[in-house]
């Protein structure tokens, strides 16, 4: 039996009849065409599907769409329209914090959520947040640099142009 989902996704009001089993990741990707949210494992380990639900990063593959009822969901497409994004994305660009880019939107969502959390961010907080994402290309070194640069605790490699 279908259920009614009312939620806000990237500032868009959504009112849909959905199957209860529809995963949030599929709602975003298959129904709303927010394909920037990627799915890498479907069991919460890889972190590629991370989105921001009510201000907090969460795995969209481990969230039923209906669990987002009355929530506010931001995907990378919504995040990309925010003021925080420019600083974070340009740090990743400058520090070569991405290679294939598949895990990247999830990481950006996590870093943006951390930045917007209002807490005083220490280096260890960044490390812990990056711990929650698997990346198979970069070896994490440049992700750490980029994330630290984005929150202003690392100045970056000045040689990059």
């Amino acid at each position: 039996m279908k259920v009614n989902l009312r939620t806000q996704i990237n500032d868009r009001e959504i009112d849909l009849e959905i199957e209860p089993r529809l995963l949030l990741s599929d709602l975003l990707r298959e129904h709303l065409n927010f394909t920037g949210t990627h799915v890498g494992c479907s069991y919460g380990v890889c972190g590629a599907c991370t989105v921001i639900i009510d201000g907090k990063p969460a795995r969209s593959c481990l969230t039923l769409a209906i669990q987002a009822n009355n929530c506010s969901v931001r995907t990378i497409e919504g995040v990309a329209a925010s003021s925080t994004f420019d600083r974070v994305s340009s740090a990743f660009h400058q520090e070569h914090g991405l290679q294939c880019g598949f895990c990247t939107p999830g990481i950006i969502c996590s870093i943006v959520a951390l930045t917007e959390s209002g807490k005083n961010i220490a280096e260890e907080d960044i490390d812990k947040v990056v711990d929650g994402h698997l990346c198979r290309c970069t070896g994490y070194v440049n992700i750490r640099k980029a994330a630290k640069k984005a929150v202003g605790i690392y100045q970056g490699d000045e040689n990059a142009r």
Partner: protein, 790 residues
């Protein structure tokens, strides 16, 4: 060679980043085609057996299911997948003809893309479910009842060699799929004259590539123009096209294969797969677009695995620690088939001597088939296995001789004055191995200096009692293998530069690096260059991005094609101005006479005149474009040294990497930041292989850890910051002087880290003979050592 460079050699920020950062990347599963249906594969959960029956009656009744196919339904419509010249087979004839050993052979096995009769590993495709909803195809798949009569599985590769072992392929005389034998020098004399001989067995465990984007295929056959378009998350669109053409009996020109943004490959997307053929066939049959996205379990049970070599290696040394000779007899468990033939085992042979002078060697390789996922090259491709055997046995020998392993290593390096250095055996392309460039001693000394300046090398224990140790490993890497790569460079009538290449990236930054090369060759602004990759309709022939080859082979092709375009420009302009082409200079998009810059035209104007009907087009070939297929003479050798400093908790078996040093020589760096990124990513994979990653099978041929909970990928907390330095000795083998770098970082970490762990535990006396050094393995070795001492 390039003249003035504005871009090559600089860390130009990547052109591909923006779309990937803001969620507009175009990965396989992001491509939405109207009316596209979902495919779910039912796979064998039995390792070895005969399919007796497949009951699809309940599954067919499920709403939204379009069609269910079994092997029998599709049998007659497909050619079997024979390993073909479209992959590693290209060089095999030449290699075997130069090997000179009568016993050497390779057995080819034709495999059907879907099981017909015999199942050979857990994960093989048994049935295909097509439906309109991704959830429902899974529901239906659960209702399919497959009856398989089990056969005793072959799991241990050593048992596979025994006469009484069940056979994977009934028509084969035994389970060996390959035997190679290479020798040089007087091996018997080397061992007879040795002061010390040590022998050990080293195992490089079975690894899954595990890119974060799994594989996937969308196939769309359009009836109206009889054209099949296949989007695949692949490293090799052109070879996939060839495979599809053969398998489906279609003209290659009616097939377009596109690799969109690919979320990591590392070798596991560098062979054609059954799913590409099956999706295509089903799209043709049903006349609808279909899509399949590999799930993570499927990745572990159907995408290739790699490594899995057991080396019985023996080294003969003189009293001073100089290598006299090397024997190695290794066994590779290639799983149910060996899709790339000699590539991985022969790479091991070719790289075994590495940076060292080895006067005599005798190496045999045997590959056996077993009931596991097929084995094929993964980043490093046979080289990490070679370095693990060679650099481990050197440490064992040093220990036996009472010498410092760093000193022994240094003493045996090929001296810089011996370059170019001929190893005395052939590469897998059949050409003699010649280290064309490099300075191994300088590389080594630089690494040691970095080590000494970065940490206290005398410290043996930390405050919590962990043991600290150091280990080194060196490597060479044949990069930029052929047979060719193509580049099409066109200046369009608006003056913008279009570059299409056959190489196709999975994160390596092709859209940036090849734009740098094209921009500097043509002396234009990089913003005016657009690089197109991964589309068989963009350039007719191509090979793919794998084997640390693209910068060298595609880079040379881009350079040559752009150079020819520039020549064409100069010839036409010179003809019009009635001067010699040599008097012309091209700079920043302007063409002018040397010394008289007032007389000038622009690339845009020239391009317009080359448009069909234009002034130049009347006299010269129309179109300001050139297409080049660059064929390397043979590989060019990159080289390097890694040093690891680790802390080992002997109570829990945990290993932490404290310091990691890389000194690498891949010639002039096209883009230093991207090169460092490749190295860091490679090292992380090497650390994974050294400490975490191994796919294990139980006695029934069931994978024990086909998930990311139990197959542990390196996480952020496990990878330290790296200290990286470069040597830039140019290669004489290509116009840019460059050598490949994609795999380099992955090659030595297992050896360097294992050496460091062993060094840390000197007091206990533990030997490390296997990677990954998991806590289970390490604690077992410690226990065994302690018991042996009792």
């Amino acid at each position: 060679m390039l003249g003035e460079t504005r871009y090559v050699g600089s860390s130009v920020l990547r052109n591909e980043d923006q779309r990937l950062l803001n969620g507009n990347g175009n990965f396989l599963d992001d491509i939405k085609i109207s009316g596209c249906q979902y495919i779910h594969f039912v796979r064998s959960n039995i390792a070895h057996g005969i399919v007796k029956s497949i009951d699809i009656s309940e599954a067919e009744k499920v709403a939204h299911i379009t069609k269910i196919y079994t092997g029998r339904d599709l049998q007659g419509m497909l050619q079997s997948m024979a390993p073909s010249k479209a992959d590693g087979g290209i060089f095999e004839e030449k290699l075997f003809s130069t090997m000179g050993d009568q016993d050497a052979f390779i057995r080819r096995e034709d495999r059907h893309p879907i099981v017909v009769g015999k199942v050979r590993h857990v994960g093989e495709i048994i049935a295909v479910v097509v439906g309109t909803d991704p959830y429902v195809v899974e529901d239906a798949a659960e209702l399919i009842i497959v009856d398989i009569e089990e056969i005793q599985p072959v799991v241990d590769p050593k048992n596979a060699l025994e006469a009484e072992s069940p056979k994977i392929y009934d028509h084969w005389e035994d389970n060996r799929s390959l035997h190679l034998h290479v020798r040089k020098g007087d091996i018997e004399a080397a061992f007879a004259n040795a002061h010390t001989v040590v022998k050990r067995t080293f195992h490089s465990g079975r690894i899954s590539a595990s890119p974060i984007e799994t594989r996937g295929v969308i196939a769309h056959f359009e009836d109206h123009n009889e054209k099949l378009t296949v989007w695949s998350s692949t490293q090799i669109p052109h070879p996939v096209r060839t495979y599809l053409a053969h398998s489906l009996n279609l003209p290659s020109s009616r097939i377009r294969v596109v690799a969109p943004d690919v979320g990591g490959g590392f070798g596991c997307k560098a062979i054609p797969y059954p799913e590409e053929i099956l999706c295509s066939l089903i799209s043709i049959q049903l006349k609808i677009p279909v899509r399949w996205i590999e799930d993570r379990l499927e990745h572990f049970t159907s995408s290739i695995h790699s490594r899995d070599q057991f080396h019985d290696i023996e080294i003969a040394m003189d009293a001073e620690g100089k290598i006299l000779g090397l024997r190695d007899d290794f066994l590779m468990d290639c799983g149910a088939s060996n899709p790339l033939g000699v590539v991985q085992p022969y790479n091991t042979i070719a790289h075994l001597a590495g940076c060292y002078e080895v006067p005599a060697m005798d190496v045999t390789a045997t590959a056996v088939v077993t009931n596991k996922v097929p084995l094929s090259p993964y980043r490093g491709a046979g080289r990490p296995e070679a370095v693990f055997a060679m650099d481990r046995i050197l440490d064992v020998a040093a220990q036996e001789l009472g010498l410092d392993p760093f000193d022994v290593r240094r003493k045996n390096l090929v001296p810089s004055e011996s370059m170019p250095y001929s190893v005395g055996i052939n590469y897998r392309d059949g050409a003699p191995i010649v280290y064309d460039s490099g300075d191994f001693p300088k590389c080594f000394d630089t690494a040691v200096e970095l080590l000494q300046s970065s940490c206290d090398t005398d410290r043996r224990r930390d405050e919590s009692g962990r043991y600290i140790g150091l280990g080194a490993a060196t490597y060479v890497e044949g990069t930029g293998i052929g047979p060719f790569e193509g580049a099409l460079v066109r200046v369009d009538e608006t003056g913008s530069i279009h570059v299409a290449i056959g190489a196709c990236p999975q994160g390596q930054g092709h859209e940036t690096v090849f734009a740098q090369v094209a921009a500097d060759t043509l002396s234009v602004d990089i913003e005016d260059v657009k690089v197109v990759t991964g589309d068989t309709d963009a350039i007719p022939y191509g090979w793919g991005t794998l084997a640390s080859r693209s910068a060298v082979v595609a880079g040379s092709a881009v350079y040559e094609a752009a150079t020819k375009v520039l020549q064409k420009v100069k010839i036409a302009v010179a003809d019009e101005w009635e001067i010699s082409p040599d008097d012309l200079l091209a700079q920043h998009g302007r063409i002018f006479v040397k010394g008289t810059p007032a007389k000038e035209t622009t690339l845009e104007e020239v391009a317009e005149k080359f448009s069909p009907g234009g002034d130049y087009a009347q006299k010269f070939t129309p179109g300001l474009e050139e297409q080049i297929y660059w064929e390397p003479p043979t590989v060019t050798f990159a080289s390097g040294v890694h040093i690891a400093r680790v802390a080992v908790d002997a109570d829990t078996g945990a290993v932490e990497i404290l310091t990691y040093i890389v000194v690498h020589d891949c010639g002039p760096l096209l883009n230093p930041q991207i090169v460092d990124g490749q190295i860091a990513g490679g090292v992380a994979k090497g650390i994974g292989a050294a400490l975490f990653e191994e796919i294990c099978y139980d006695d029934n041929g069931q994978p024990m850890n086909p998930n990311l909970m139990d197959y542990i990928l390196p996480t952020n907390d496990t990878i330290p910051d790296l200290l990286i330095e470069h040597l830039e000795t140019p290669s004489p083998l290509n116009p840019l002087g460059i050598k490949g770098v994609g795999e380099a970082g992955t090659i030595p970490p297992p050896a360097a880290i294992a050496n460091a762990i062993e060094n840390a535990l000197t007091e206990i006396g533990v030997e490390i003979n296997k990677v990954p050094v998991s806590p289970k393995y390490l604690l077992n070795q410690i226990q065994k050592t302690k018991e042996a001492k009792l």
